[in-house]
């Protein structure tokens, strides 16, 4: 390109533009097809057919698939939890409904048949609740069942249904102090002092004819004579453990030989006593029998 004078920038740009001008003007059909394929592909993975992007695209796809799998597992677990929770809640609600029905039947003095039916229904609903979840039911069902069974046993009807003799294990109301216990029983020499007692060690002796009410029914105790019953410390309670409950401690006249006092609702069966209207027979007891354990509330306190 011979020239005597330097080429200006504008002229040089023009020359350059002409020299480097595009040699093609129309996209090829393959190019258009690739464009439409990219449009049809959608998402950020479009262009995955390009060699340069292939490695990165594979990594990204792997990541998304992993995330998708993790999300699926998460959703599955959540679904199981929700379904399980709903099932649990349904069972608890069924118990609640049955309890309300029974309560209504008791309040309205329904017929024995109706009440017995409601008792059976409530027991059935309770039995459907797994034992480890029955604590969530509260104390109302047990109170209702006890009340209904007591009611049915005292009525003129056919008597309490069979389920009353095999009620499911349920949490009872919190034990409270027995008041109005009957006359003290005769104490005899005890044999096993409490091993952990530090204060207030109970006098040794067996509570003959304990007269108090069971710990969880202490308010209704105190009417028994305590004469005929001979309190024999329960073998399983004679280990001398300190009392753990608040019940049964203050009633006079009770007392096994340092035996562990009743602990909560499970310790309510007095040795040698029979609960009023109760279903658990204690040999030789009288209604209102005082629990035999731990006459002074246990030495641990």
């Amino acid at each position: 390109m011979p020239s005597a004078t330097p080429i200006s920038d504008d002229r040089l740009l023009d020359l350059l533009g002409e020299a480097l001008a595009p040699t093609v003007s129309e996209p090829t059909p393959e190019g258009l097809a690739a464009l439409h394929a990219a449009l049809a592909g959608g998402g950020d993975d479009r262009g995955a057919d390009i060699v340069v992007l292939r490695a990165a695209t594979r990594r990204r796809r792997l990541g998304w698939s992993s995330v998708a799998a993790a999300a699926a597992v998460f959703v599955f677990v959540i679904t199981l939890a929700v379904v399980g929770g709903n099932s649990r809640n349904t069972k608890l609600s069924d118990v609640q409904l049955a309890s309300e029905k029974l309560s209504q039947a008791l309040r309205s003095n329904s017929s024995s048949a109706t009440t017995a039916h409601d008792v059976e229904v409530l027991v059935d609903r309770i039995n459907r609740v797994p034992p480890d979840q029955r604590a969530q039911l509260g104390t109302q069902p047990k109170q209702l069942l006890d009340q209904a069974c007591d009611h049915l046993s005292g009525s003129q009807g056919a008597g309490p249904p069979a389920v009353c003799h095999a009620l499911p294990a349920l949490p009872g109301p919190p034990p409270h102090r027995a008041v109005g216990g009957g006359p003290a029983g005769t104490r005899t020499q005890g044999t096993t002092p409490p091993t952990r007692a530090t204060t207030g060690q109970p006098p040794a002796g067996t509570g003959a004819g304990g007269t108090g009410a069971p710990p969880n029914r202490g308010a209704s105790g105190g009417t028994g004579s305590g004469v005929t019953g001979t309190s024999v410390p329960a073998p399983t309670r004679g280990s001398g453990s300190p009392p753990t409950g608040t019940s049964g401690g203050t009633a006079p006249g009770g007392g096994g030989p340092g035996g562990r006092p009743p602990t909560g609702s499970s310790g309510g069966t007095p040795p040698g006593g029979e609960r009023p209207g109760g279903r658990q027979q204690a040999p030789g007891g009288q209604p209102g029998g005082q629990p035999g354990g731990g006459p002074q509330g246990g030495g641990a306190r």
């Binding site: 390109m1 011979p2 020239s3 330097p6 080429i7 920038d9 040089l12 740009l13 020359l15 350059l16 533009g17 002409e18 020299a19 480097l20 001008a21 595009p22 040699t23 093609v24 003007s25 129309e26 996209p27 090829t28 393959e30 190019g31 258009l32 690739a34 464009l35 439409h36 990219a38 449009l39 998402g43 950020d44 993975d45 479009r46 262009g47 057919d49 390009i50 060699v51 340069v52 992007l53």
Partner: protein, 184 residues
């Protein structure tokens, strides 16, 4: 024109295939010319397709700025070319092929060696252009082939517009020297 292109871009953003095709046809010649000199003539078609694929995938992130749609697409094409060269470095045989074509602006070396093209003024310019360093070539390609403004070129190259103008002036000076040396 800008407003029209903006409308077309908005339609493309909504997934309008016809709008995409219109944009593709509009930018294709410049894009092909640019990429022919960046990755080689035989690789240009694939590079254009890849550029448009990336554009389709990321149009939702595009916002009109000083560079406009063309500047945005050329920015993508620039990265496509850079990726091509990185891949070529890992494949020595492709480096050789790429160098052969990028050095002589898409013309086969055999023809250059025959001296059949250098007789032409444009061929002389292309030969001189091929001797510029990579930065000068890229800047001049964006300005001349891509038709981008100094501001748009600055956005593509991540520089200031003033720096682009200065670099362009220096690149043209070097190109002029090469042409004069060729004439001499």
């Amino acid at each position: 024109m800008r407003g029209t292109q903006k409308d077309v871009v908005e339609a493309a953003r909504r997934g309008d295939g016809a709008a995409w095709e219109a944009l593709y046809r509009e930018v294709y010649p410049k894009l092909h010319a640019y990429l022919s000199r960046r990755v080689g003539h035989d690789q240009a078609e694939d590079a254009v397709a890849e550029t448009m694929s990336r554009a389709v995938a990321s149009l939702h992130r595009f916002q009109f700025g000083p560079a406009g749609f063309d500047g945005w697409v050329f920015g993508i094409a620039r990265h496509v070319a850079l990726d091509h060269h990185r891949r070529a470095v890992r494949r020595p045989t492709e480096v050789l092929v790429g160098q052969r074509y990028s050095a002589e602006v898409g013309q086969p070396l055999d023809a250059v060696a025959d001296g059949l093209i250098l007789d032409d003024d444009h061929a002389a310019v292309r030969a001189a252009f091929a001797r510029l360093d990579d930065r000068d070539q890229e800047l001049l390609l964006l300005r001349v082939v891509g038709g981008l403004s100094a501001e748009a070129t600055a956005e593509v190259l991540h520089k200031r517009a003033g720096a682009v103008r200065t670099a362009q002036s220096r690149a043209l000076a070097r190109l002029r020297q090469l042409l004069e040396a060729h004439d001499a």
